[in-house]
């Protein structure tokens, strides 16, 4: 069985799984005001984001090393080292071709690209900085993490929107199973600069403040109007469970099953109507691994508070369960926000019992979703969870995690 043995995570909660677990258990996002000084934000726009505090990163990344890195590269490097340490592994002395990295990005290298294009527009193309350009590629975080951790195996940057982190985890399973990697750092890295925040707001993707209403993500909730934008990096250390046990480390989760599909009814940047297609794909993929929906005791849903996305996800889950009551449904994106991979870390922390699910249920479910959202089990003894994400644009991915 392929297992997760380390969590490296950088988020608004801080660095490391303990900081994230504490915030998850508290149930309140560590959100703060986005910088609006560039003037991109309009009246009534979203104001909050789950941003990484640079003071959390600085002690872990020497200034000389950090000075040419964009924010997501810094997050990825810190998360990669964190994951290796949590899994009881050190940085190899020489480039290690058995150590691979598979990380997703949903938004790409926004801030450095913006800076460089500003140079081109304001001062002319000859003013473009080569140092900025080297971080204007989507794979900069994975490449920087590989350099920092001497990971000379497969180095893959996936882009599958919000579903990318789960697909990266699935890819890591294939790499270890096939023997092409001994260990894989799998996850995601993204940044949330003011321009991207304002654009997401312009696309009406973000939760906004309003009369009598706080600016808050309400996954599956009535009155939801968008998600909380987030940034950070999460990389999970994935390896063969037997190897981990021999090394004497704690196995946090087994990756029992995974799947992915596409909904061609989804317009670019939006969600579609292909409920039954996605539901069938989930059920069929579970069956390939000898599982049925009733073998799942918890759903960790990628619902984020998006009006369209949550509606589709609710319908898909209901269809996958054949209209039967859903098991316990947890919605960690109410706390982690969307992007940056903390959602992935949250799922593992919940399964491993490191974070408590009490505050992560669906608050005030939207009656229009016409689906029971599964009560939080008093005992909260999670054995096997389905983790899902349906991305804007049509991609969907899921994994089944099991407690060892």
């Amino acid at each position: 069985m392929i297992a997760v043995t380390g969590i490296g995570t950088v988020s608004s909660a801080g660095v490391g799984p303990a900081a994230l677990a504490a915030t998850l258990t508290l149930g309140e996002p560590a959100a703060r005001a986005i910088d609006r000084s560039e003037g991109f934000h309009g009246e009534g726009s979203a104001r909050l984001a789950a941003l990484v505090d640079p003071r959390h990163i600085q002690p872990l990344l020497p200034a000389m090393e950090a000075r040419r890195m964009s924010a997501p590269s810094q997050y990825a490097v810190v998360a990669a080292r964190n994951a290796l340490a949590e899994a009881g592994l050190g940085i190899p002395a020489e480039p290690d071709s058995s150590l691979a990295i598979v990380a997703a990005t949903a938004l790409g290298p926004a801030s450095y690209t913006q800076k460089m294009f500003d140079q081109v527009l304001d001062e002319g193309p000859r003013a473009a900085s080569p140092a900025l350009f080297s971080e204007c590629v989507a794979n900069a975080p994975t490449a920087r993490a590989a350099i920092a951790c001497r990971a000379a195996g497969v180095n893959l940057t996936l882009a599958q929107g919000e579903a990318g982190p789960l697909r990266a985890l699935a890819r890591s399973v294939a790499l270890v199973t096939s023997g092409r990697a001994r260990a894989v750092l799998a996850g995601a890295a993204d940044e949330m600069p003011p321009l991207v925040h304002a654009i997401l707001d312009r696309l009406r993707a973000l939760a906004r403040p309003g009369p009598g209403k706080s600016e808050k993500a309400r996954p599956f909730g009535s009155g939801r109007d968008g998600f909380l934008a987030a940034e950070g990096a999460t990389l999970l250390l994935v390896e063969d469970e037997r190897v981990a046990v021999e090394r004497g480390v704690t196995v946090l989760a087994r990756i029992r099953a995974h799947g992915t599909c596409f909904d061609p009814t989804a317009p670019a940047g939006r969600w579609g109507t292909g409920t039954m297609g996605i539901a069938h794909a989930i059920v069929d993929s579970l069956a390939r691994y000898g599982l049925a929906p009733d073998a799942i005791d918890t759903i960790v849903s990628g619902a984020s508070g998006s009006v369209e996305g949550d509606r589709l996800e609710a319908r898909v889950l209901s269809a996958a369960w054949g209209g039967a009551p859903l098991p316990m449904v947890l919605v960690p994106k109410a706390v982690t926000g969307e992007y940056g991979g903390a959602f992935l870390a949250a799922a593992v922390l919940l399964l491993a019992g490191i974070a408590r699910p009490g505050a992560m249920g669906v608050a005030e479910p939207d009656p229009d979703l016409a689906v029971g959202m599964g009560r939080i089990d008093g005992a909260c003894d999670i054995r096997r969870m389905l983790v899902t994400t349906l991305a804007a644009g049509g991609s969907a991915s899921w994994v089944v995690l099991e407690r060892p």
Binding site: I101, A138, G153, N155, A159, F262, G269
Partner: protein, 423 residues
């Protein structure tokens, strides 16, 4: 890359499609490559007069017949248009219906810039007039997963849709993922490829690195002075041999193996020893069940930058030994420019065309070979007897991807080797 049964099998390529600066479609690309022509010319996509250089391989406008009936064409980014057009051509050439409507059809796509060109237009306008006013479609096409999703949407594919953005190795890696998905039975039909368009950020960036030649690029030549950027798309239809045979499709080539590695060395410079790239190539050959001495053709990454070509030659020496000087080498970028995330796809297509023709594609540009990179660069359209070819890509951040392709029918030999090894 083992299948669930533990037996690594080849897959066949039954359809190819391309958009390049030679024109829209495989025929235009094929004609340009056979003739040893270059499509690198002055840029008109944007005003390049203030840039240090002003040439690239820019795709011409399509004829109307090609775009008619494609839903949403007017609102697609240029990269999405390239992708959808190349995918439609590949599917048609494979003899497949234009509506795949199956979970067993997947798309494995690569892009480095996605809809960056359109985002630049939006941002240049919006930073003064407010970002809440521009056309929404310019924004939503920005992400690098959009070209692959546009292909899946256009063909109604409902299987896996994965996009790789590992710089210039992206498409080789995406094709490797497609091979894996076909072998594992995750999909029956895989569309694999990539798409990228020229944009100002990329053009300014490579110029800032002093990596762009003011003349059309001259890979492995003594006077080479950098790369030439390009744009376009290329798509391969990949499936299991028995499935292709069952539906009467004629394989164009065999996809025998894929390999990937990282240099873990530097963000923009390749490992000068070539060790990382050599490892990707060796892994691909091993995956294919081929020995280095079976390789009769190399399609090199061959950017024309001083550092890349030297590192790549050293990688070839590590794998082929003295063969690095004698195996014919193609350098497709001299003809169509560097297509960045799509480079591995259009170079795979060029390799498939060369295998089909059993003829070298002359590398344009002339000039003496660099004594530091003494490869046997294809200079004439010489006939060859080549069963196995490799295509190699080296990307920013030290990402490497390699593919092993065989002439149609080569899969039987490779599978015999694998079976012998397993015994």
């Amino acid at each position: 890359m083992a299948s669930p049964t533990g037996v690594r099998t080849a897959a066949v390529v039954t359809g190819i499609g391309a958009v390049s600066a030679f024109g829209w479609g495989i025929e235009a690309l094929h004609a340009g490559l056979r003739a040893g022509a270059t499509s690198i010319r002055p840029i008109t996509r944007f005003d390049a007069s203030a840039f240090p250089t002003a040439i690239a391989a820019q795709v011409p406008e399509p004829d109307r017949a090609r775009t008619r009936g494609i839903e949403g064409w007017a609102r697609m980014s240029l990269a999405d248009r390239f992708a959808v057009s190349a995918a439609r051509e590949a599917v048609a050439r494979a003899g497949l219906p234009g509506d795949l409507s199956s979970r067993m059809a997947g798309v494995f796509f690569a892009s480095s810039t996605g809809g960056m060109l359109e985002s630049e237009i939006y941002y240049a306008w919006g930073r003064h007039d407010g970002i809440d006013r521009g056309p929404r479609h310019l924004l939503v096409s920005q992400q690098v997963n959009r070209p692959g999703e546009a292909v899946a949407r256009d063909l109604s594919a409902t299987g896996p849709v994965e996009s790789v953005s590992s710089a210039c190795a992206s498409a080789a890696l995406a094709i490797g993922l497609a091979l894996e998905a076909v072998r594992d039975g995750e999909v029956e039909i895989a569309l694999a490829g990539g798409a990228d368009s020229l944009c100002r950020v990329t053009y300014a960036g490579f110029n800032a690195l002093q990596a762009v030649d003011s003349r059309p690029c001259r890979p492995f030549r003594a006077d080479r002075a950098g790369l030439s950027l390009g744009e376009g798309a290329a798509v391969l239809v990949i499936e299991r041999p028995e499935r292709a045979a069952a539906r009467g499709a004629r394989p164009l080539a065999v996809l025998l193996g894929a390999g990937a590695s990282a240099d873990a060395h530097h963000m923009t410079a390749p490992d000068p020893s070539g060790a990382g790239a050599a490892r990707a190539l060796a892994l691909a050959l091993d995956d294919a069940g081929c020995r280095p001495d079976e390789v009769g053709l190399v399609n090199a990454h061959g950017t024309g930058t001083p550092l890349n070509d030297v590192a790549e030659y050293r990688a070839l020496v590590r794998v082929f030994g003295d063969g690095a000087r004698s195996i014919p080498v193609l350098a497709t970028k001299a003809s169509v420019g560097h297509l960045l995330g799509c480079a591995g796809a259009i170079e795979a297509v060029a390799t498939i065309l060369a295998l089909g023709d059993q003829r070298l594609q002359p590398v344009p540009g002339g000039g003496d070979s660099d004594p530091a990179t003494p490869v046997r660069l294809a200079r004439e359209a010489t006939a060859v007897d080549c069963r196995i070819a490799v295509s190699l890509n080296l990307g920013f951040g030290g990402c490497n991807g390699a593919l092993v392709l065989g002439r149609a029918g080569a899969e039987a030999g490779a599978e015999r080797v694998l079976e012998e090894r397993q015994r």
